[in-house]
């Protein structure tokens, strides 16, 4: 019984970490510039396809593809940010939604054209397959890897935002854009870098997600709902909030399926609705 609790916690946490990587970028850009980027998962999809291409066509090892997935997604996103998104920072949310949904459609069709509609397989190296059993709890190797990499990234993010000059500028820009501008902070530049960082993380998340959720052109739409759930429950612009929300949702989803399979599919939505009714601005949000 106790071991099953630990097992569920572990698996839920790993799943939550995946959600966290996919969502944290959106939370920051939405909180910082009020830009509703529904195409966020399209950047995740780019990362996924980069990994698949490098592995299957060029024979790269899995781990080596991950930084490339990050970089390609980040660069692509900045191109879009500089050419298109920035023109809409002052537009209404609805126009922003429409533009980015349009881009999602384009990305879905493009992926289908280039890669076909087929499920992309990813063949993990042997050391990431299988599992370890520690004190009766089975820990999947890939899940351990996922948790480790997410914790490292979270630590890096928090450290760089808390202790670097760039981090201070970003935080200032999130808190009060106008005042940040007044203080001579290059808000546009800070935003472009943050945007790239967020999309890069989504790209990394997309690459890491293939093994768990697969990859086909519908990825860009299918995981949008989960990402939005994490962002809203966590609170806009809050890394800690996204982390907590992703963990909470991952674990409650897993626990719900394990202990109450009859209502397993309802649980993630019930948790979200309940939390938002309790705290409309999200767990760590300052404003809704």
């Amino acid at each position: 019984m106790i071991t099953s609790v630990f097992g569920v916690l572990f698996d839920g946490f790993a799943y939550g970490m995946l959600l966290f990587l996919l969502s944290v970028g959106l939370s920051v850009t939405l909180g910082m510039m009020n830009f509703v980027n529904l195409a966020h998962c399209s950047f995740g999809m780019i990362g996924g396809y980069v990994t698949v291409t490098l592995m299957n066509s060029m024979g790269w090892p899995f781990l080596a593809t991950l930084p490339v997935a990050f970089v390609v997604a980040a660069i692509t996103s900045v191109l879009f940010e500089r050419t298109m998104f920035r023109r809409l920072y002052r537009a209404s949310d609805l126009d922003q939604c429409l533009l980015t949904i349009g881009l999602v459609f384009v990305s879905v069709a493009s992926a289908a054209y280039v890669y076909g509609t087929i499920q992309q397989p990813v063949n993990l190296p042997s050391y990431l397959r299988g599992s370890y059993t520690i004190m009766g709890v089975t820990l999947g190797a890939y899940r351990l890897f996922l948790i480790a990499i997410s914790l490292v990234i979270t630590a890096l993010l928090v450290l760089s935002l808390e202790y670097t000059r760039f981090g201070a500028q970003v935080r200032a820009a999130v808190d009060n854009q106008r005042m940040a501008r007044g203080l001579g902070i290059n808000v546009d530049g800070a935003f472009a870098v943050t945007f790239a960082l967020g999309s890069g993380l989504a790209g990394l998340g997309g690459a890491l997600a293939i093994d768990i959720v697969g990859l086909d052109p519908s990825f860009a739409l299918a995981y949008l709902v989960y990402v939005l759930i994490v962002v809203s429950v966590g609170g806009l612009g809050s890394i800690g909030g996204s982390f907590a929300a992703a963990t909470l949702l991952g674990i409650s989803d897993m626990a719900g399926k394990y202990y109450f399979p009859e209502i397993g599919s309802f649980l993630i939505y019930l948790v979200m609705v309940g939390l938002l009714m309790w705290r409309p601005a999200g767990l760590f949000g300052r404003r809704s």
Binding site: M84, R87, L88, A91, S92, D93, L94, D95, C97, L98, L99, I101, G102, L103, V104, F105, V106, S107, V108, A109, S110, A112, Y113, T117, L221, V225, L228, I229, V231, S232, V233, L236, S265, F266, Y269, L270, M272, V273, L276, M277, P280, A281, G282, S288
Partner: protein, 344 residues
């Protein structure tokens, strides 16, 4: 657009003039009859456009007028669709009463939901509506005994409309039935948005804090319009069930909620005709693009959305209104407008 002459005629005359039917509106509604004559092979598409337009109109009432963004409006569409379907399956296939039933059922659900909706705004509101929509979808999937689950509800059979008109293969009955309902509910919406209640809704959209400060009953207004909108969406759903004699989980899908939002924003929210134009453009474009290539039609549709946002912010009608309202455009077209005997 100039108002000086009307202003002199007294404050109500100006508003009354805004409320009057314009020639172009009459032309628009007459044009909706064109499919009967010009494209009789496209009547089932036309009826789907009319139903989608009604659904978009229902969303416009809450989003375009009261500023309540919903990513779960399919809940009411789907609830109405299933209500009409289940009624028919259990032996009552009379269309008009079935539609009334669908509207009341969805309206009741909307009324219950409105007590929650009225308390939230912004992202929380969007996500709560989305959450409830998905919960309803899961519930419909689980309640296979009632809804038929993923296979869809089987055994929906409609009696002839008014006892005389069968729902035919060509979609003839389906289209005029949907069109009349769209028109009637459009009239209701038009009346509603020009009423004091409609004015208050726009106030809520524009500045809900200020509404509190002038003592407005904002929450009561929101509850009311949400209920009306839900009932209307339910009628649209019921229409879909009745004209196609099918219902499946697709009516409750997140995709349907997202699509209708895209359609409304594409056409222009808060303009009454926005949802109608959006539905026509989106569905006709989809039909044509997917006819050319059934696999990659998402691409041109996506490009269409991007282009509209970049060049016509505020949706097609919003963007056009800005362009036609601009001085430059007025100067440009004035010579062309001479025959009308007045400036546009």
């Amino acid at each position: 657009m100039t108002s000086t002459s009307a202003a002199l005629a007294g404050p109500h005359e100006h508003l009354r003039a805004q409320d009057r039917w314009r020639a172009i509106e009459v032309v628009f509604w007459l044009a909706t009859l064109l499919p009967f004559l010009v494209t009789p092979n496209y009547l089932s598409l036309a009826s789907q456009v009319a139903i989608t337009a009604l659904f978009a109109l229902s969303l416009d009432l809450i989003l375009g007028y009261a500023g309540i963004v919903s990513l779960g409006h399919a809940a009411f569409f789907g609830f109405g669709a299933y209500a009409a379907g289940i009624l028919s399956k259990h032996g009552w296939g009379e269309p008009l009463s079935g539609l009334l039933f669908a509207g009341i059922a969805a309206g009741l659900l909307g009324y219950l939901m409105s007590f929650i909706i009225a308390r939230f705004r912004h992202l929380a509101l969007i996500m709560i509506t989305l959450g409830f929509g998905l919960l309803l979808l899961e519930a419909a999937n689980s309640a296979g005994w009632l809804t038929g689950g993923a296979d869809g509800l089987q055994g929906v059979r409609m009696w002839p409309l008014l006892g005389m008109f069968r729902f035919d293969l060509y979609g003839f009955t389906a289209y005029w039935y949907s069109l009349i309902l769209l028109f009637l509910l459009f009239l209701v919406s038009r009346r509603l948005i020009n009423s004091p209640f409609g004015l208050s809704l726009r106030g809520i959209r524009e500045n809900s804090t200020r509404m509190r400060a002038i003592g407005a009953e904002s929450r009561a207004h929101i509850r009311k319009i949400y209920t009306i909108s839900a009932a209307m969406a339910g009628i649209a759903g019921g229409l879909l069930t009745q004209t196609t004699e099918t219902v499946s989980l697709g009516v409750l899908d997140f995709q349907r909620s997202a699509d209708i939002l895209v359609i409304l924003v594409l056409g222009g929210a808060g303009r009454l005709y926005g949802g109608l134009i959006g539905a026509i453009i989106f569905l006709v474009a989809r039909d044509q693009f997917s006819g050319i290539n059934p696999q990659y039609w998402y691409f041109p549709i996506g490009v269409l959305l991007v282009v509209v946002v970049l060049f016509l912010p505020g949706g097609i009608l919003g963007g056009l209104a800005q362009i036609t309202g601009s001085e430059r455009f007025q100067r440009m077209v004035r010579p062309l407008m001479v025959w009308r005997g007045k400036s546009p």
